[in-house]
Structures are given as structure tokens and as C-alpha cells.
């Protein structure tokens, strides 16, 4: 420490952040979030316990009533569990972001010469790992219970679609995380959104027995389309309209909510 540093007034510095720096900073922040997951594995409860528990619960509780047998219900319920689990996992993004932003370490991030957006994009990137865990577990549970997909390519495409859609939807919860004041509020409001979305969809039951007004809701619920798309991929191994609708709808969500979230975040940061 005896050598002299370059004096502040003699440094040539730019007031811009390059794209390369933004990507590099985001990856470092994603790495940080992965370390946090490793340090606190409780964070993975929603993507580990839920797929296992829900699959067993729904299959044996509703299988006989809805489809006459457990085996007959599997093609309906496995895609449903897959999509709802990923959706639940995406909700945690907002809660964790809020908790993180209240921590002292965020003051350091804000005063460092890094891309301002990295503390937001990092966790969103890292959460892809969580969705992948949730999706894989659903596959394993389905397989163990006797579910067989039409083709491996179809199954994998379905898995990737769910992970992608969950990532897109997580921007809604990220916005709540940035805007709302406490983690509890984020949790509360997110659950209130999540619950009707999960259950008032085609995820668990065939929708043709529902009253017409509920059918209308189910038909505008994006989850219904994701579930249908995954069912078609799993059971027929083909890509249908629902696949494209899910994809377009998810991209639309990102186009709407990502800029809103970024703006709200930058205003606070």
C-alpha cells in the first residue's frame, strides 16, 4: 500500500455503461443469487416440496373422481402441476427481490460503478435455475407414477416452454417487488393473484362442467393456454395453436412489464 494510486483528477472516465459491462454485471449478480440459494436451501422448498406433494395429492385425491382412474388422470394433471409449480416459483422472484433491496448490501451496489440494472436482472436470470428444478421434478414424479409422454422431443419442448413462460410471468412479480414497500405485502398481493390464476384454469380439471362465467375467466387465463400447449406436447407430441398463443402472450408480458419494472427500479435506485 506504499505505492501511490492515480490521482482522481487525472483519471479519464466515461459516464456510460457499456452493454458488455451490463451483461457481465448481470451474470455476477446471478452468480450471487445462486450462492444465496446454496446458502439457504429453504428457498427451494417451493420448487421441490410442492411438485412432489401436489403431484401425489392431486393424483390420488382427484384421479379416481375426475378420470375414473389414477392412470387416466396423469395426462391431465402432470402438465397442470408443471405449469402451476413454475408459476408459483415465479412469484418468489418478487418477494426475494423486495427482501434483497432492503438489505444493507444494496447500498454498496448502488454506490459502485456497475450497471444500475444488474441487481434486478441478476436475480431474474438466476431464477431460471429454480424453474428448471421445478420442471425436472415434475417430470420425475410423473414418470414414477406411470406417466409416459408421446415423444421425448415433445416433452422437452414442453419443459422449455414452461420455464420460458414462468420467466416472462416473473416480471409481473418483479414489478410488485420493486414497487411495494414490504416483502409481506408482495407475498400477500402475489398470492391473491396466483391463487385464482392457478385454480381457475384448465390445470387440474376439465373445464366443460364449469358455469359459463367461470368458463369465460378460464378462457382468458393465460395459464389455461400454457397448460393446453404442454398437454398437447406431452400427449400427442405436437405443437398447436395454444403453444403459439402461450409464447406470444408471454413475450407480450415481458414487453409490457419489463420496461415498467425497469423504470420503477431505476427511479428507486
Amino acid at each position: 500500500m506504499t505505492s501511490q494510486i492515480v490521482p482522481g483528477a487525472q483519471r479519464r472516465l466515461k459516464n456510460r455503461v457499456t452493454l458488455r459491462m451490463t451483461i457481465s454485471n448481470s451474470l455476477t449478480m446471478a452468480y450471487r443469487n445462486l450462492l444465496l440459494i446454496r446458502r439457504t436451501p429453504q428457498q427451494l422448498f417451493d420448487v421441490t416440496i410442492q411438485p412432489i406433494l401436489f403431484t401425489l395429492l392431486f393424483v390420488y385425491l382427484l384421479g379416481g373422481a375426475i378420470s375414473g382412474s389414477v392412470g387416466g388422470y396423469l395426462p391431465i394433471i402432470i402438465p397442470g402441476i408443471l405449469a402451476t409449480t413454475a408459476l408459483t416459483a415465479s412469484m418468489a422472484t418478487g418477494v426475494q427481490l423486495r427482501e434483497d433491496m432492503d438489505k444493507g448490501v444494496f447500498y454498496r451496489f448502488k454506490s459502485m460503478p456497475i450497471a444500475r440494472i444488474a441487481p434486478l436482472t441478476g436475480p431474474l436470470l438466476a431464477d431460471i435455475v429454480r424453474y428448471a428444478i421445478a420442471t425436472s421434478l415434475c417430470f420425475v414424479m410423473g414418470y414414477l407414477l406411470g406417466f409416459r409422454w408421446a415423444s421425448l422431443a415433445g416433452a422437452l419442448t414442453g419443459g422449455v416452454l414452461v420455464v420460458f413462460c414462468a420467466w416472462c410471468i416473473s416480471w409481473i412479480f418483479a414489478l410488485l417487488g420493486v414497487v411495494l414497500k414490504t416483502a409481506q405485502t408482495v407475498q400477500g398481493i402475489s398470492t391473491a393473484i396466483l391463487f385464482p390464476l392457478s385454480f381457475l384454469s384448465g390445470a387440474f380439471v376439465p373445464t366443460n362442467t364449469l358455469p359459463w362465467w367461470l368458463q369465460d375467466f378460464v378462457n382468458i387465463n393465460p395459464l389455461t393456454y400454457i397448460v393446453s400447449a404442454v398437454r398437447q406436447l406431452f400427449n400427442q407430441g405436437t405443437i398447436g395453436n395454444d403453444f403459439w398463443l402461450s409464447l406470444i402472450g408471454s413475450i407480450a408480458l415481458v414487453l409490457i412489464f419489463a420496461p415498467l419494472t425497469l423504470r420503477a427500479y431505476m427511479r428507486k435506485a
Binding site: P7, G8, T28, L36, R39, S111
Partner: protein
């Protein structure tokens, strides 16, 4: 220590001496109806240790947070090495580092994970980052606890890690917000040594403190902050001199002489003398030359002394005089 430091400053180039690390004009920050910062001007030369001294809630941290780009000022402007803190915030962030009041480190991660992440964010490669992490952990005596999560760390260890985090790349301007609050005396001395070492290798330090002895020991210049304003500014010596003269303490051998000693002291020194203990006479020492006359007069009057001492004014007195009530602040040091 003061001598040594100014010696190093003299070695610096004249270019650096002429530049200001921080220049602020009329800074204002309002929270609701509280004017936390109320028209602050600062000019801090590079290469010095500058202390913001003030009671809790005086606005010290808010001033720091405007200068380090965490808060936008509601009025006025500030420059760090000539770069505006609002319009060139990203440049300013490349010139500063911050050690906050509450340790700005991630409690859920280990010390080495924290340092590695900060290093990667600052653009170090993976191997550079782990090398620098190991160096800093060693330097701050945290190597043994490097793998533990901070939840098991003591307050002092967190502070050390926080300081280490701001030194991954040594910045030209380092903010230290109450760096030694809550530290044990030994860790505090270590912290002071670290701070002096940073200045000797070319950094400028802006620190806040509530401890007067810390400002006195460490700072080249001090701004006394109260109610969001700078109420006095100067070197520790200037501040002390402005508040009052040294006091002469005469401890008498015999209680019976007290009245006579007071009379003689007042006549010779031409100031008011007083007594707070039976055998102690105190008087303001305006002119040290007159003390010789006083001692001769006391001997002629056969008054025996046990001890004679001169008490310099302490920064405590300065602080109380300036931040106590408004009337006393009037006669304070150089008003900005």
C-alpha cells in the same frame, strides 16, 4: 503524526494540491418537512482527512449520501474531482468507495464470497478477484473466518469486512460514515492506522464521527455540522483557538491563601479568576508572558503552590459551544 502526514503531502505534485476532491455549494435535502441538509458548502482538498463532526441526526450521513450519489440533492450542486454528482454520477462512482454506518455486506454469504462478488462487479477477472480477496482477508485478520457466513460474525468483524470491501480497488475518494462507532479501542486504533495508510498512498478521506477525540486525532480539517448546516470549519487547532483561550490552573498549598491568590491573579493577569475547589484557582490565560509576573507576585506574597498547569481547550468545549444553543455559536470559529 501530523508532521509526518504533511510531509507526504508536500511530495505530491502541485497539480493534485490545487484540485479539490469535493466542492459543494448550497446543498439542500428535504425529507418531508425536515430540512436534513440546509445549505451546506464544502471544499475539501485532495490528500487530506476531512471530518464531519456533529451530533446524531445533524445531517452528516445525508451529506455523505448526496456526495456518493445515493441521494439526489433538492438544491445546490456538488462535484467530486470536478465531476457533478448528479449529471456524471457514473463517473463519480468510479472515483469513490463507501463504508457505511450499517455494514453494507451480505450477511447470508461468507466473507470471501462477499469480497469476490464485489471484486467481480468492479471488473476484476476471476483469478484476480480470488487473489485480491485472499489478500484483503489476510490484511484485515479475517482469513480464519473467511468461509463462515456473516451471521456468525461480531460487529467489529463485519465493520472490518465492510472496510475491506471498499478497498478492493483503492479509490481516490473514500467515504467513511462513522467508521469506528461500536468498535473496541484496539480495533479502533487499527482502523485509524488503516485510514492514515490510505491517505499516505494518495486517497482523500471524508469521514463522519460523533467522537471528538477521533476528529482531533485523525482529521486535517473539521466541519462541525448541526441541524443540517456547517456551523464552523477549520483545523482542529483553529476550532479550539476560536472557542476560547487556554486556562491556567493554580493548585494552592494552603486553603487560607485562596482569597488572596484570586486577588493577585486578577490584578496581574487583568482577567477574572475563580475557584471551584477550596485550593484551586483558575483563570483564562490571555497573555502567557504575564504568567511569569503572576508567579513572582505569588512568591512575594508567600503563597505556596502545589502544581501549576495550563489546560488547552478541548474539542468537547468547542462542540458544546457550537452545537449547544444558538447564542454561543455566534462567537464560534470562522463562520462560513
Amino acid at each position: 503524526m501530523m508532521m509526518q502526514r504533511s510531509g507526504i503531502q508536500d511530495g505530491n505534485s502541485s497539480v493534485e494540491q490545487s484540485t479539490l476532491a469535493i466542492e459543494a455549494h448550497g446543498l439542500v435535502k428535504v425529507f418531508g418537512d425536515n430540512r436534513a441538509v440546509d445549505g451546506v458548502d464544502l471544499s475539501i482538498p485532495s490528500g487530506c482527512i476531512y471530518a464531519l463532526l456533529g451530533p446524531n441526526g445533524a445531517g452528516k450521513t445525508t451529506i455523505i449520501n448526496i456526495l456518493n450519489t445515493l441521494l439526489k440533492p433538492d438544491g445546490g450542486n456538488a462535484k467530486v474531482f470536478g465531476h457533478d454528482v448528479v449529471h456524471e454520477a457514473q463517473v463519480v462512482r468510479q472515483l469513490i468507495s463507501l463504508t457505511g454506518q450499517s455494514a453494507a455486506v451480505d450477511e447470508r454469504l461468507s466473507a470471501s464470497e462477499n469480497l469476490t462478488i464485489f471484486a467481480l462487479l468492479l471488473g476484476l477477472s476471476r483469478s484476480e478477484a480470488s487473489k485480491r480477496t485472499a489478500e484483503l482477508l489476510e490484511e484485515f485478520g479475517l482469513a480464519g473466518a473467511a468461509k463462515r457466513t456473516l451471521e456468525k460474525y461480531s460487529g467489529g468483524m463485519r465493520r472490518k469486512l465492510d472496510l475491506a470491501s471498499s478497498l478492493i480497488v483503492q479509490a481516490p475518494l473514500i467515504f467513511l460514515d462513522e467508521p469506528t462507532t461500536g468498535l473496541d479501542p484496539r480495533t479502533r486504533i487499527q482502523m485509524w492506522e488503516s485510514i492514515r495508510r490510505l491517505v499516505s498512498s494518495g486517497s482523500t478521506i471524508l469521514l463522519t464521527t460523533q467522537y471528538l477525540d477521533e476528529a482531533d486525532q485523525l482529521a486535517d480539517r473539521i466541519a462541525v455540522i448541526d441541524h443540517g448546516r456547517v456551523v464552523a470549519e477549520g483545523t482542529p487547532r483553529e476550532l479550539k483557538a476560536a472557542v476560547g483561550k487556554a486556562t491556567l490552573h493554580l493548585q494552592l498549598a494552603d486553603e487560607k491563601d485562596t482569597a488572596e491568590a484570586i486577588r493577585i491573579t486578577q490584578t496581574v493577569l487583568n482577567v477574572k479568576a475563580s475557584t471551584s475547589e477550596p485550593t484551586l484557582v483558575t483563570a483564562q490565560m490571555a497573555d502567557p508572558e504575564l504568567v511569569t509576573d503572576l508567579l513572582v507576585s505569588l512568591r512575594e506574597a508567600k503563597i505556596h503552590l502545589v502544581t501549576v498547569s495550563v489546560q488547552e481547550p478541548t474539542l468537547d468545549e468547542v462542540f458544546l459551544a457550537l452545537t449547544g444553543d444558538g447564542k454561543q455559536a455566534e462567537k464560534g470559529a470562522t463562520m462560513p
